[in-house]
Every structure is written in structure tokens, then in C-alpha cells.
């Protein structure tokens, strides 16, 4: 099924459909993640792959047009050769790989057991993914927020902020399908019903990350989706009235700084950077507060960045 989807993507000349197929692909992958016990990843993949990035694609296609020329046969040989070589190397490697699902695989030994056995006592949250993400490998996650922030700055630098400054009027070419969406009363009504719960759900995911799947990323993306949905249906201008872009532009930095501030606070208290033990008197409490705050930072940055990028794209298409 997956393979079929991908082949369709390759053959597809209509970009719009290709994007939708990609979105579909992401959805399937995320359900596979679910089957493979990676609930957090599945959650994120669904929200990001099938959600936000699809929206970005659509926004971009709205600007650049929908059709791609078929590729000429001649030019396919070199890519095909490279792909086959790479694939061969990978195939070669698989024969020495630990069998799928094997609990004795080295990947399950060595480092991971401590996470499984000690994290409740050392960090606290029953969701081990959260413990690892936010505490054991909190430094990586800081870097990840940095990546998101960088993307935001990059898009800003290239496309400009979500506020229209240039006086050039572009030909009306709104975000795909928005015109029809706006006119549909049913959609409006339904979305009115949906958007508020989406936002609330986002908040729930934000705070629930300790116990179930969820956390800053997922919450941020979901929150952003809610706002973007609103913008799609009511138009950019009302959405921007709701969230003034000027202020929104500050938020990614705020989230990142909030995250780093927790780490710096730890340093000021005499511990290492991002060591939450020092945040409160009791290490476990410290971990708890620390994770809460940095997850908040992640959530703020991710949500703000996604909304910002969406605004930037849609400004270009108006």
C-alpha cells in the first residue's frame, strides 16, 4: 500500500494530487508508527506530515502553479543508477541487521535499559519518551527548537513578515480552495464547532505529555493547525486581527529563550546546563518543573513558528 502510494506520487503530474498523496502517505506511516508502539511519533507525524506540511505545500502550490511537466526519459538514467546503488548498499546491510522485533538487538541493550528502569525514579514522568526528550536528551531538544526557530528566521528573511508592507498588488490567487471554503456555510458552522475544541485539545496535549503521548511539539503543531484552519475559513485578515503578526513574530524567540532560561537557571544554581535537578530543592520536583517549562517553551515556539510561516506564505499569494 505504501509502495503503491509512492509510485503514484512519482507518476503524478498534478502537484495538488501529489501533495495530497504525500499527506496520505504520512497518515499511513503514522498509523504504522502507532502499530510499532511509537505513539508520540505517530501523533507528531500525523500532525506535522499530514497536517502542517501539507498546508505549507498547498500554500506554496497556490503561488507557483499546479502542474509539473513530465520528466524526459533521458534524464532518468543517472538518478536511477544512483538510487539503485544506494539501495544495493542498504540491502547489503540488511543481512547483518538484527531481526525485526528482536528484544536482544543491541539497540535495546546498553543505553536504553536505564531509561526504562530508572527514569521514573530519576526524572518522573511515566512517559519515557518525554523523560528522554526533555531531560536525558534535553540538549538535543533545545537544538530542535533551534532548528524550528532557524526555519522561521529563514522564511522571514526570504518572504518577509506576515504583515503586508509592499504596495504591489498580486493577482488574486488565494490559498488553494479557500474561496470555495469561505462560501460554504456548512464548513463554517462545522469549523466553528471544531476550532475551539482543537485549541483546547492542544492545551491538553501540552500538559498531558508527562503521562500520555504528547508534549510541546504536538501541542504546538495542533494549536497552529487550529489557527490556520481559522485563517483558511475566515481569511487571513481576520486571523491576523485575532493574532497580530507583529506580536506573533516575537513569540518564537520567547519560546526558545524560555527553554534556554531554564538551563541557564540551573547553571546559576551551580549545576550543569539543562540540569533540572537544581531548579527546585527536590531533584524530582526540579525535573518536573523543568520539563513543564521547557515543554511550554517548545510549544510556544513551534506554534508561533508554524503560524508565522503560514502567514508569510499566504501574504505572498494575496
Amino acid at each position: 500500500m505504501l509502495v503503491a502510494t509512492v509510485i503514484i506520487i512519482i507518476r503524478m503530474e498534478k502537484l495538488m494530487s501529489a501533495v495530497l498523496m504525500t499527506s496520505f502517505f504520512s497518515l499511513i506511516v503514522s498509523s504504522i508508527f502507532m502499530v510499532l508502539d511509537a505513539v508520540d511519533v505517530a501523533f507528531t507525524e500525523a500532525a506535522v506530515g499530514a497536517g502542517v506540511s501539507t498546508i505549507f505545500f498547498l500554500a506554496a502550490i497556490a503561488i507557483v502553479g499546479r502542474v509539473s511537466k513530465p520528466t524526459q526519459r533521458k534524464k532518468q538514467i543517472l538518478p536511477l543508477a544512483i538510487v539503485l546503488c544506494t539501495g544495493a548498499v542498504l540491502m547489503y546491510a540488511t543481512f547483518d541487521m538484527p531481526r525485526f522485533g528482536s528484544p536482544d538487538a543491541p539497540a535495546q541493550q546498553h543505553v536504553v535499559p536505564r531509561y526504562l528502569n530508572e527514569s521514573m525514579a530519576e526524572v518522573g514522568p511515566p512517559n519515557i519518551v518525554t523523560s528522554v526528550l526533555a531531560s536525558y536528551r534535553g540538549y538535543d531538544t533545545l537544538g530542535e527548537v533551534g532548528v524550528v526557530f532557524t526555519a522561521f528566521i529563514g522564511v522571514f528573511l526570504l518572504l518577509g513578515a506576515g504583515t503586508r508592507k509592499s504596495g504591489i498588488e498580486r493577482t488574486a490567487n488565494p490559498v488553494a480552495g479557500v474561496e470555495s471554503m469561505r462560501q460554504s456555510i456548512v464548513l463554517r458552522e462545522v469549523s466553528d464547532l471544531v476550532i475551539a475544541p482543537v485549541l483546547i485539545f492542544a492545551l491538553y496535549v501540552q500538559w498531558h505529555g508527562d503521562f500520555g503521548p504528547g508534549g510541546g511539539f504536538q501541542a504546538g503543531v495542533i494549536f497552529a493547525s487550529g489557527i490556520i484552519l481559522y485563517a483558511l475559513i475566515y481569511g487571513i485578515v481576520p486571523a491576523q486581527k485575532l493574532i497580530p503578526p507583529r506580536k506573533l513574530a516575537y513569540l518564537p524567540a520567547v519560546g526558545l529563550l524560555l527553554y534556554a532560561a531554564v538551563g541557564v537557571y540551573g547553571m546559576l544554581m551551580g549545576a550543569n546546563f539543562l540540569d533540572y535537578d537544581a531548579v527546585a530543592h527536590d531533584p524530582l520536583h526540579g525535573q518536573h518543573y523543568g520539563i513543564l517549562i521547557i515543554e511550554l517553551g517548545v510549544g510556544i515556539t513551534v506554534a508561533a513558528v508554524m503560524i508565522n510561516i503560514f502567514f508569510s506564505f499566504s501574504e505572498r499569494s494575496l
Partner: protein
């Protein structure tokens, strides 16, 4: 034996399909789509690696003893976010390219660039003649 590896093979086919889209497409947006597929397949590889048969999601609860690998999940969470960041930036550049060239087809762009260069050399020779 084969069953234990089948999963990986499917992932590899997906990865290669993604890579193929990146390299063979002339349309810039489609290239980014390819990147997405490629990366998503790599995520799948990681997650397959972390799966334990009979295990459960790594959320500690009573009654479960085997948990799948949380570390790969964390890595892939990070990688997904990196992926969407790259997509966003790539699309932003694509949009700018469209505004500058009025096309997003690689061949057309290359053609226009060559034309441009020819013009430049022509101009500089004229300048040289004048001086």
C-alpha cells in the same frame, strides 16, 4: 529469516523511491515532496529498529514489562521537526524562485540562467570595446 528482514526491505524501497523523486523531478516542489517521502521512510527505519515484539508503547504502566525503544522515538520526533523545518524553508525559496523566474521547472530555470550569462559576457565585451 526473510520475515525478520522484510520490514526493512519495504522501508528501503520507500526510501529509494523518495530519493528517486528528488533526483529525477524537474519541478522544484516535487523535489521537496521527494525529500519528504525520503525522510519519512528513514523515520520508519528508525522506528522499526526500536520495535520489540510483544512490547508496548514506552509509557510505564502496571502490567507491562516489555517496552519498545523510547530512544529511537525521541530521535525521530526531533527528525520530524527538522524535516518540516526544511520543507518550509525549501518552499519559501521555491516561492522566491517563482517570483524571480516565473517558473519552477528546473530545466527552464537553467535555460534562463544560461541566457543570462551569455548576455552578461556580451555586455562585458561591449564595455571592454568601449574603454
Amino acid at each position: 529469516m526473510i520475515a525478520g528482514l522484510f520490514n526493512y526491505w519495504v522501508v528501503i524501497i520507500l526510501m529509494m523511491a523518495g530519493l528517486y523523486i528528488v533526483m529525477s523531478s524537474r519541478h522544484l516542489v516535487k523535489k521537496i515532496i521527494g525529500l519528504n517521502v525520503f525522510q519519512t521512510s528513514v523515520f520508519l527505519l528508525f522506528i522499526s529498529m526500536g520495535k520489540i515484539s510483544g512490547g508496548t508503547a514506552p509509557i510505564i504502566a502496571d502490567g507491562f514489562t516489555a517496552y519498545s525503544n523510547p530512544l529511537t522515538h525521541v530521535l525521530i520526533l526531533t527528525a520530524i521537526v527538522v524535516g518540516v523545518a526544511t520543507t518550509a524553508l525549501g518552499l519559501a525559496i521555491t516561492v522566491r524562485i517563482y517570483e524571480a523566474y516565473d517558473t519552477v521547472d528546473e530545466d527552464d530555470i537553467a535555460e534562463m540562467d544560461i541566457e543570462n550569462e551569455n548576455k552578461e559576457t556580451a555586455v562585458s565585451t561591449v564595455v571592454a570595446k568601449n574603454t
